[in-house]
Symmetry: C2
Subunit: 498 residues, 2 copies
C-alpha cells in the first residue's frame, strides 16, 4: 500500500490517500482575504449561536438576543407600507387585478409596472440599466426633490441595493500601480462596505476623520490634510460622503456640502454621495440637501464639470425594505465613453432584481393627494418617521446619562455611535485575547445581556478612542429596556475593570 506520495498528496489517519486542496487559504485571492465587514462579523456570528443555544433551552442571563447591529427595520418590527406591498402582490400574481378589495391606485401602479415588463411579468429580465418607466419615475422624483433641477432618466441606473451601485462605481475608478494606484477618500468612521470594496478592488483607502467634538462634522482642512498626504503614495481619484451619516448620524449643512463640492473640483476628485438616509432627518434645524441640488445651485462652473454619482435605496428611510435589494444611482457629468463602459459592465449581470425595481418605483412615485391610498400612506409614513425621531432623541438622552458614555445627537440616519471609556485593565485583558478593546467590550455585553452591537473598530475611529454602533430601530418600549441594560452593563463593566 505504501507508495511514494508527491507533495500534493498525504496519508490520512485511516490510511487513505488524501489530496491537498486545490484552493487553500494560502493560494486564494489575496485581496479577498483583506476584506472585512464588521456589521456581519464575529460578534453577529456569536449572536446567531446564542440564539440557537437559547432555542435549544440553554440557560442564559437573558431571555432573547436583540440585534441592534444592523439597520434591518422590519426585523425590528417596523411595518411595511401597505400600498407598496399591495402593488407588489398585484405584480407577483396579476390575477389579483380583478380582486375588488385592492384599491384602484394600487392596481394602476401595478399595471404601469407590468406593462413595462416583457410579457407583463416580473419574471422577465429588464433592461440592464433598469426598467425605462421606473427610471423615468426616479428622474421625476429627483427633479421634484431638488426643486426643479433637471434630471435625465438616461443618467439613472437601477441597482441591487445601494451597495451594488457603490461597488460598480468604485470598479470604474480603480487603476494604476505603485504611487499611481487609485486612492479613494472615505470618512472615518465609515460604513465598512467602502473599506471592503476598496480592499477587494486593490485600491488605496484614504481616511479623512470626522470631527466628533463638533457632532461628527466634516471639516475641509481635514479633507485637505488627507488628500495632501495621500498624494505622496497614491493617486486620489474619488471622495465618498455618507449623508446623513452612517454610523455617525450627522446631517450635513448646505454650506458644508458646497465646500465639499468646491474641494472636489479643486482637487479633481470624482464625488460619490451615499444618500440612502435622505428621509431620515430628525433634529431641529437639520435638513437633507442633496449633493445634486447644491451642485446645480453653484452655477455652471460646477454643475457642468464636477463628476458626481449619488445613491439611494429602498432599504432605509420609512420603507426599510432591505430584503428586496432595490436601489438606484444617478450619474452627473460622466464622460460619455465611460458611461458606455458602465452600461456594458452592468449588462454582464443582466439586470437588478425586478421586484426591487418595482419597489423603487413605488418609493419615488407613492400615492398622490386625491388617490384612494394617499391618506393611509401618509399616516403610515409619518408614524414610522415620528417613531424614529422619538427613538433617536431617547437614545441620545439615555446614553448621555451614563458616566463614561458620551453620545452626539442622532440628527439623522438610524444609528447612534457613542464614545465609550474603557478602563485600562480591560484594554489590557483585550490585548491578551488579541481583541480590539471595543470588540472585547461588545462581546462581553452580548454574553451578559444578549444585546448585539458593533464595535467602533469595525467602522474606524481615532486611535485610543472607543465606540459602538447601535441602531435606534427596536420598538420604543424594547429600546428603553435595551438602553437601560446597556447602561447597567457599562456601569458593571467599569466597576469590574477599575
Amino acid at each position: 500500500l505504501f507508495t511514494f506520495l508527491n507533495d500534493k498528496e498525504k496519508m490520512t489517519d485511516n490510511g487513505m490517500m488524501s489530496r491537498a486542496k486545490v484552493l487553500t487559504i494560502d493560494n486564494m485571492n489575496p485581496t479577498v482575504k483583506k476584506v472585512e465587514y464588521a456589521v456581519r462579523g464575529p460578534i453577529v456570528q456569536r449572536a446567531v449561536e446564542l440564539e440557537r443555544e437559547l432555542s435549544e433551552g440553554m440557560k442564559k442571563p437573558f431571555a432573547e438576543v436583540i440585534k441592534a447591529n444592523i439597520g434591518d427595520a422590519h426585523a425590528m418590527g417596523q411595518q411595511p407600507i401597505t400600498f407598496f406591498r399591495q402593488v407588489l402582490a398585484l405584480c407577483s400574481y396579476p390575477e389579483l387585478l380583478s380582486d375588488s378589495t385592492f384599491p384602484e391606485d394600487a392596481k394602476s401602479r401595478a399595471c404601469r409596472i407590468l406593462q413595462s415588463c416583457g410579457g407583463f411579468s416580473m419574471g422577465s429580465y429588464s433592461a440592464s440599466q433598469g426598467i425605462d418607466s421606473v427610471r423615468q419615475d426616479v428622474a421625476q422624483y429627483i427633479q421634484r426633490r431638488d426643486g426643479g433641477v433637471p434630471c435625465d432618466p438616461d443618467n439613472i441606473y437601477l441597482t441591487t441595493g445601494a451597495s451594488d451601485g457603490i461597488v460598480t462605481m468604485l470598479k470604474l475608478l480603480v487603476c494604476g500601480e505603485g504611487t499611481s494606484r487609485a486612492g479613494v477618500m472615505i470618512s472615518i468612521p465609515q460604513y465598512p462596505l467602502y473599506s471592503a470594496a476598496l480592499a477587494e478592488l486593490g485600491a488605496v483607502q484614504i481616511n479623512y476623520y470626522l470631527n466628533e467634538e463638533a457632532c461628527w462634522s466634516l471639516d475641509i482642512p481635514e479633507l485637505q490634510r488627507a488628500v495632501n498626504e495621500a498624494r505622496r503614495y497614491c493617486n486620489p481619484r474619488a471622495l465618498c460622503i455618507i449623508n446623513p451619516g452612517n454610523p455617525t448620524g450627522q446631517v450635513q449643512s448646505r454650506q458644508c456640502i458646497e465646500d465639499v463640492i468646491r474641494f472636489a473640483a479643486k482637487e479633481r476628485l470624482f464625488l460619490m454621495a451615499d444618500e440612502v438616509y435622505q428621509d431620515n432627518v430628525y433634529a431641529d434645524g437639520c435638513q437633507f440637501h442633496s449633493f445634486k441640488k447644491v451642485l446645480f445651485e453653484m452655477g455652471p462652473e460646477y454643475s457642468e464639470t464636477v463628476e458626481l454619482a449619488s445613491f439611494h435605496s429602498t432599504s432605509k428611510c420609512y420603507m426599510g425594505e432591505c430584503g428586496f435589494r432595490g436601489g438606484y444611482m444617478e450619474i452627473i457629468n460622466m464622460d460619455d465613453d465611460v458611461k458606455a463602459q458602465l452600461t456594458k459592465l452592468v449588462s454582464v449581470r443582466l439586470c437588478p432584481p425586478v421586484p426591487g425595481q418595482a419597489l423603487m418605483d413605488l418609493v419615488v412615485n407613492p400615492p398622490q393627494p386625491g388617490e384612494p391610498s394617499y391618506n393611509n400612506f401618509i399616516k403610515e409614513r409619518t408614524a414610522t418617521l415620528s417613531a424614529l425621531a422619538e427613538k433617536a432623541k431617547l437614545t441620545e438622552q439615555v446614553l448621555n446619562t451614563v458616566e463614561g458614555i458620551s453620545c452626539n445627537p442622532v440628527q439623522g440616519a438610524m444609528y447612534s455611535f457613542p464614545r465609550i471609556t474603557i478602563p485600562e485593565k480591560a484594554v489590557q485583558e483585550a490585548a491578551e485575547k488579541g481583541q480590539a478593546p471595543d470588540m472585547f467590550y461588545c462581546m462581553k455585553m452580548l454574553e451578559e445581556t444578549g444585546i448585539c452591537l458593533v464595535p467602533g473598530s469595525g467602522f474606524g475611529q481615532k486611535d485610543g478612542t472607543y465606540h459602538f454602533r447601535m441602531t435606534i430601530l427596536p420598538p420604543k418600549d424594547k429600546l428603553q429596556i435595551l438602553l437601560n441594560n446597556v447602561k447597567e452593563f457599562h456601569q458593571r463593566f467599569t466597576l469590574q475593570y477599575s
Copy 2:
C-alpha cells in the same frame, strides 16, 4: 478673459472654461474595458432602437422586433407557474393569508418562508448565505435529485441568480502574476459571463473547444491539449462546464462527466458545474446527470477530494423567472478556511434578494402529490417543458432544410447554435466595416427581418467558422414564422453575396 489654462482645462466653443473629466476612457479601470458581453451587445442596442422607431411610426420591412437573443422565457410569452406566483403574492402582502381564494398549500408555503424572515417580512435582510429553511429545502432537493447522495445545507449559498455565484467563485480563485497568474478553462463556444468575469478579474481565459462534428461533445484529449498549452504561460486552477450546454444545447453523457472529473482530479483543477438548465433536456436517450451525483458514485477517492461548485437558478427550466434573480450554489470539498472567506465575502453585499430566495424555495419544494395545487403544477410544468421539447425539434428540423445552415440537435437548454456559411464577398464587406462576419450577417438580418440573434463570435468559435445563437422560446406559431424568415433571409443573403 483669456488666461493661461493648465492641461486639465480647455476653452469650449462658447468661451467657457471646461475642466477635463476626472474619469476618462484612458484612465478608467483597464480590466473593465476588456469586458465583453454579446448577449446584450450592440445588436441588442440596435434592436431596442428599432423597436422605438417602429413605435414612433417609422416604416420598416417588418411589423415587430423578435428578440431571440436571450433566454428570457416570460418575455416570449411563457406563463409563470401559478403556485409560485400565489406564494409570492402571499409573502408580499400577508393580509392575503386570510383570503379564501388562495389554496392551503400556497398559504402554508408562504407561512414557512415568512416565519424564516425577520419580523415575518420579506423586507428584512436574510442571513448572507441565504435563509436557513430555504437552504435546508435546497439540500433536500439535491439529495432527492441525486438519488440520496447526502447534501449539507451548510454547503448551500443562495445567490443573486447563478451569475452572482459563478463570479463569486471565480473571485476566490484569482491570484498570481505573470506565468503564475490564475487560469480558468472554459468551453468554446461559451456563455460570455465567463469571459467577461475573467477579463474583469484579470484572470487568464483558457479555451477548450467543443466538438461540433460530434454534437458539441466535450473531448478529454482537447481538455488535455488546452491545459498543457496553458501551463506554459499561466497557472490553470479551475475548469468550468456548462451542462446542458449554453449556447450549444448539448447534454453530457454520464461517461463524459466521469471522465471530466478524473481529468480535473489528475490536473488538480477546481470544478465549476453550471447546471442551470438541468430540467431542460429534450432529446431521446439524453438525461441530466449532476456532477455532484457522478462524483459521489465514483467513490471516496474522488468524492472526498475533488473540489466542486455547482450552480442552479430560478431563471431557466420550466420556471423562466429571470427577473427575480434567484439562485444557489453548492460547494463540495472546499477547504474550511476558504469557506470562511467565502462566507465573509458574501456578507459584504448583505444578502441575495429575498423574493428570489423565496422563489428558489418553491422551485426546490414544489407542490407534492396530495396537495391541492399538485395537479395544476404538474400540468403547467409539463405543458411548458413539452412545448420547449417540440420547439427544440422544430428549430433543428427547419434550420437543417436550409442550404448553408447546419444545426446540431438541440438536446437541451434553450438555444440552437447553427453553423452558417457566409460567402467570401460578405466576409470582405464585413472586414471593410470592421465587423465580424457573423455580426455583419446578424445585423443585416435584424434590419431586414426584425429578428434579433447573437452572432457566434460573441460566444467564441473555431477560426473560420460562423454561427448564431437563437433561443427556442418564441411561441410555436411565431417560432415557425421566425424560422421561415431566417431561412428566406439566409437564401437572400447567400444570393446577394455570391
